[in-house]
Symmetry: C2
Subunit: 211 residues, 2 copies
Amino acid sequence: MQPSDLLDCPMEPLSLRERRRDAILDAAEALFLEQGYERTSLAEIVKQSGGSLATLYDLFGNKQGLLHAIASRWGNEARSQPAECMAMTDLSNVELLKGYAHRQCDRMRSPRSVALMRMLISESLRDRDFALQIYRDLHIPATEELSTLFAEWAATGQAEIDDPEAAAKLLLSIVIGDSMLHTLAGLENEWLDNEELDWRLQPFLSHFRII
Amino acid sequence: MQPSDLLDCPMEPLSLRERRRDAILDAAEALFLEQGYERTSLAEIVKQSGGSLATLYDLFGNKQGLLHAIASRWGNEARSQPAECMAMTDLSNVELLKGYAHRQCDRMRSPRSVALMRMLISESLRDRDFALQIYRDLHIPATEELSTLFAEWAATGQAEIDDPEAAAKLLLSIVIGDSMLHTLAGLENEWLDNEELDWRLQPFLSHFRII
DNA sequence: AGCGGCGTGTAATTTACATTACAGAAAAGC
DNA sequence: GCTTTTCTGTAATGTAAATTACACGCCGCT
């Protein structure tokens, strides 16, 4: 019906039901991330989102259904902004990789990522599907884009990388490293700054002859 | 009554109360690690340990007190077997470090460590003291023994390590890396084998001229 | 205007625990 | 052996939350 839309049909005014649904998802997401899944009651969510408990049950079936709906929304989000374009710049590969590391580190240390990771881990025993789905949506893409890049470098002689996938995982380990565990354990402010990050990359860069 | 044993003051027969205490701690630890703290009921613990709910309350005050007692027992355990002696062998430093990495990796991937870490993270929002205490008892020592070793190597010209502590954290990151997150998220069997571990150490070893 | 759903607010219902109370059994100390 | 203190089993008590039921008001449709 809409005259023109490129992505994600923006025109239609969204039915009340759909706006309710979004509001509930927003509130639930915020509260789950802030307090954890178990410690957040459905009544609290509804109080914050407006609407009523009955509607929530009508939309999502039960509490776990709500969680899955959130997970699936995250997945869509992640898929809709697929990758940062890493080629096509005038930077050296070294600078490119450093920039990537900095951004990846920022991404991982954002309060939202940390909360997400914490929730994922907390629920992984109870609801394995939820945990696996989130994990795949969020982390596998990161590894893959990096390993594609490395493979390309290796193929064109810009680096000597025998196993691009292993190298990608190694790089992510170096970047995420123990900081993630620190943070998840509740010690904030323990992340690497860009200087230490660059220092950490040195062995990697020289070993794989990235220039 | 045993004729001879060396450590851990063996003689006294342990009062009933002390045996009860230990039994409750054992059962609680097992159940907490297996199911998580919140999902384990005190009744369940008592059913498994023997004894009665009233005794549990008498000994630990409440559920959180029980958790703290467990944490403090872990701390004592960790402190009582302080470090693996890393010097005094006829191995090369490279072999030494590889061996250390392998053992550290094994330690981290043991079901008990994983469960512990998961519980720590799950409870870190609710009970920050518990999380911090565990984290310090278990991880800081690992970093410290390694960084001491590196400092020694640097001082005696066996390696060119400008910042031993940073190097120690880097090494642990390389070893633990993303595997820990994989595992915490519920994907088992994603740990590095010794071969990949050695591969990962190469850049580190050559960069710091460890021989 | 009137009708049929749908969303809302409120309040039952149910369940699962933490926590407490208590009466009898067992153990410890003398 | 007797007393006192400490366990044990079981049954309240109280609370928090998920889930359901229900009666009412609002909105779009004809």
